[in-house]
C-alpha cells in the first residue's frame, strides 16, 4: 500500500504531513466510498481545515501516489479454496466515481501477473469466500493496492456481457459451495457508468446508444436520477479493448446528444 499514518488530531495530521510530504490524501478510516470522506492536502496551511472537515475521531493520511494507471482484479474464492481471477481491467475515475472500465487493461504481462499474484495472496490471507475486488495503482512496473471491496464490484459489471461466467453468478457459486465458473473474457469489452446527471434534461435517448449493435444497456431500476447517482451502465463488445472503450463512450454521449453518432 502507499505510505500512510493514522491520525487522531490536527497536531498528528501536521506531523504526518511532515513525514509523508505533500500532496497527501486525508481519508476517513470507515464508511468511505466513491471519494467520499477524502480530502487532498497540498499545503500545510490546509491541515486544520482538512482535519475539521473529516469530522471523525480517526483518519488515515496517505502519501499521494503518482500513478500512471488504475487497474483492478476481482478474485473469486470458493468454499473449497479454489481461486479464479477476472482482469486486470483499466479503470478511469471522474469526480472520484468510476467512469469507465476497459477489459483487458493495457499493461505489461509482468504487471498483469503481479496484479494477479497480489490479489490472490490478499484473497487467501483474508480467507475470503465469495468475491474480493482489489483496486490497484500502477506506478511504473510496481503496483500499490488502493482499495479492497469484498463483493461484486462496479469494475466487474462488464463480466455480465463479456465473460463466460459473470461476477454475480460467480458470487452465488462461491457462497453456495458450488464449483467456480470459467472467468474467461469472450471478447474485449468496455463499461461506462450512467450517472443521474444524464437525466438532467429528461430521459436519455436510449435508441441512439442501442443503434450501436454491440452496446448493451443495463438500468438498475432506481426511481430518482440524482446527480452522481449510479443509475445503470453501458457495455460495449469489440475486437479490441481500445475500440470497445471508444464505442461505449460514444454510445453514452449519444444518450444526451443523439446526433453525435451520425
Amino acid at each position: 500500500v502507499a505510505p500512510y499514518r493514522p491520525v487522531r488530531s490536527a497536531a498528528e495530521l501536521r506531523t504526518a504531513l511532515g513525514e509523508l510530504g505533500m500532496p497527501a490524501i486525508l481519508k476517513t478510516a470507515d464508511f468511505g466510498y466513491d471519494g467520499k470522506g477524502q480530502t487532498r492536502i497540498d499545503d500545510i496551511q490546509q491541515a486544520d481545515a482538512a482535519w475539521h472537515s473529516l469530522g471523525r475521531p480517526v483518519g488515515v493520511l496517505e502519501a499521494f501516489v503518482p500513478f500512471t494507471q488504475e487497474i483492478s482484479v476481482i478474485c473469486a474464492r470458493g468454499v473449497d479454496g479454489d481461486v479464479r481471477a477476472y482482469g486486470p481491467v483499466a479503470n478511469v475515475h471522474a469526480r472520484h466515481i468510476l467512469d469507465t472500465t476497459t477489459a483487458p487493461a493495457n499493461v505489461s504481462p509482468a504487471v498483469a501477473r503481479l496484479a494477479h499474484e497480489l490479489s490472490r495472496a490478499i484473497t487467501e490471507s483474508l480467507d475470503v469466500v465469495g468475491l474480493l475486488a482489489v483496486e490497484m495503482f500502477v506506478v511504473g512496473d510496481k503496483i500499490v493496492v488502493n482499495e479492497l471491496a469484498p463483493r461484486p464490484h462496479n469494475s466487474g459489471h462488464y463480466t455480465f456481457d463479456a465473460c463466460v461466467t459473470s461476477q454475480f453468478e460467480q458470487q452465488l457459486r462461491a457462497v453456495c459451495g458450488l464449483p467456480l465458473g470459467d472467468v474467461e473474457l469472450l471478447r474485449p469489452a468496455a463499461m461506462a457508468n450512467l450517472l443521474g446527471d444524464l437525466w438532467q434534461n429528461g430521459e436519455p435517448h436510449w435508441p441512439a446508444a442501442l443503434a450501436l449493435p454491440d452496446v448493451k444497456l443495463h438500468l438498475y431500476g432506481k426511481a430518482e436520477p440524482r446527480p452522481g447517482r449510479k443509475m445503470g451502465h453501458l457495455t460495449a463488445l469489440a475486437t479490441s479493448a481500445e475500440e470497445a472503450r471508444r464505442v461505449v463512450v460514444a454510445a453514452r454521449a449519444a444518450l444526451t446528444d443523439p446526433l453525435s453518432l451520425r
Copy 2:
C-alpha cells in the same frame, strides 16, 4: 413445406394416405406442440384409429420427410423492418421434445444460406415484429419448413450465454421499437434440456454438472418436476460445436450419475 392434405373425416384421411403414401403424420390443425396431437401412420389399417384419436373436426395429413437433420433459424424483425437472424442451429428431439441444440449447425454454406433466406422471407411476408423461430428439415441439399413459432424458442435458449444479444433481449428490443442487437455467436455452444424426469430419484446433483467450468445452469422455477416437463436447461461453451455438445450431454448425465465425469 412437406406435401399435405387437410382431412375432415376418416374417409378423407384414407384418401389422403393413398395420395401421399406412407408413412405419414396426422397432425391436429391447432394447439399442437412438442409432438402432442401427432400420430404416425405406417399402414392403412391404422387410419380409423388415428382419426378417432385425433378427436378434432379437422386435421392435417403430412407426408413423412426422410430428413437427415433438423435445424432452426430464429429471425428478429424490428418495427423499422430490420431483420437479424440467429443460426441455423442443429436440433435433436427425443420423445418429440427438443433434447439438444448445437450452435452452429454442421451444414453446408449453401444450406445455411438457404435456411436464412427462407426464414427471412417468411418473417417479412408475415409482417412479424418480434421473433419468429423457423424449424426446418434438411433433406440432402433441400430444406422443408416444419414449424413456425412467433416467440423466443427453446432452440434459441443458447443465445443467452453464447451470443452478443440474447433472443429474450432481442424480442424486447423489437417490440419496444428499439434497434436490434448483434446476433453474433461469441463461441460455439450447445444446450441440453432438463426434463422433470431427471428429478425421479430426488434433486439432481448440480455441483457435478457445474464442475465443468464452461457449463451454465438455468432453472425456470417450476415447482413440480413432472416427467416430460421442461424444468430448465444447461448450456456449454467450447472451442467447437461438437465439443460443446459432448460437454453439455456429459454434464446432464452427471446430474443423476455424479461419478460419470470422473
